[in-house]
């Protein structure tokens, strides 16, 4: 069996890439995809520890995280679509009505 830290460091790297995507990109859809990357990195951590602690609770949590992520994607994409309908752009720099 591989040392556990290999999978955990990979998960941390993917999580960091997701955070980078949220901070750097200006397109609302790409930001949303980076959020999905972060969720997947956390899923990988759950499953790694579920295997190395020889229990199944981690996989159950992953099941629920995936369900919640699917519901969140549906609602978030509806919001982004409404945003595009009203503003004509998906660039978050242009949507600045609530800025000071």
């Amino acid at each position: 069996m591989l040392p556990m830290s290999y999978y955990l460091v990979l998960s941390a790297l993917i999580f960091g890439l997701g955070v980078l995507g949220v901070l750097i990109r200006r397109n609302a859809l790409v930001i949303f995809m980076s959020i999905e990357l972060m969720l997947n990195a956390v899923n990988l951590t759950f499953i790694t520890l579920s295997r190395y602690l020889e229990t199944l609770h981690g996989q159950i949590y992953v099941f629920f995280v995936m369900t919640v992520a699917a519901a969140e994607v549906a609602v978030g994409l509806a919001i982004i679509m409404l945003l595009y309908r009203n503003w004509g752009t998906a660039n978050i720099d242009d949507i600045n009505l609530m800025k000071w």
Binding site: S5, Y7, S11, A12, A71, M81, G88
Partner: protein
């Protein structure tokens, strides 16, 4: 063997997730995200979680990404403008610094043995590799899901109903819809 599989599949995951973030067109980002999800399903298989790997392919790569692609193609977005890497460099630099400081913290924090006492790791939980060969993974997950986790299961169904109602209401066709860009 596991090391080889980990390096190949983990490398594909890392590279494609890198390209998700650093791609100009959102359509290409979505395609790389599909590749990321599929390779993560491969990683779950290496770790012995067959049920979750199947659910990952069916739900994430098969439903969530299809939804993404629908919306991307419906909105007909332009690629980000040509100066997308050179504009707002101060904000982007701060973002990179934050991530460069945070990722080693997370990576070292969850993987060093300071967090886990030696008695916890390798503890004989209820799902040892010996049992994994007798009972299939799906049956074991089901036996746990429908006994100990039945309440979150039912609440999840309510959550999906609420999400569905919300999406149908949000995305309804409105009368006198003004054109985008106005």
């Amino acid at each position: 063997m596991e090391l080889f599989l980990f390096i190949v599949i983990g490398g594909i995951t890392l590279i494609s997730s890198f390209f998700v973030v650093f791609q100009r067109s959102p359509l290409y980002s979505a395609l790389f995200l599909i590749l990321t999800f599929l390779s993560m399903a491969g990683l779950y298989l290496v770790l012995g979680a067959e049920f979750v790997a199947l659910i990952q392919v069916i739900v994430y790569a098969g439903a969530v990404m299809v939804l993404f692609l629908f919306v991307i193609m419906l909105l007909n977005l332009d690629n980000e403008k040509r100066e997308w890497l050179t504009k707002q460099t101060k904000q982007k630099f701060v973002g990179i610094v934050i991530v460069a400081a945070m990722v080693p913290l997370i990576g070292l924090g969850i993987s060093t043995s300071l967090l886990y006492s030696k008695s916890q790791l390798g503890a004989q939980g209820t799902y040892s590799p010996q049992m994994a060969q007798q009972v299939s993974n799906t049956a074991s997950v089901a036996s746990l899901l429908f006994t100990d986790y039945i309440l979150p299961f039912e609440i999840t169904s309510v959550l999906l109903l609420v999400a569905m109602v919300g999406v149908v209401y949000l995305a309804r066709r409105m009368k006198k819809q003004s054109l985008p860009g106005k």
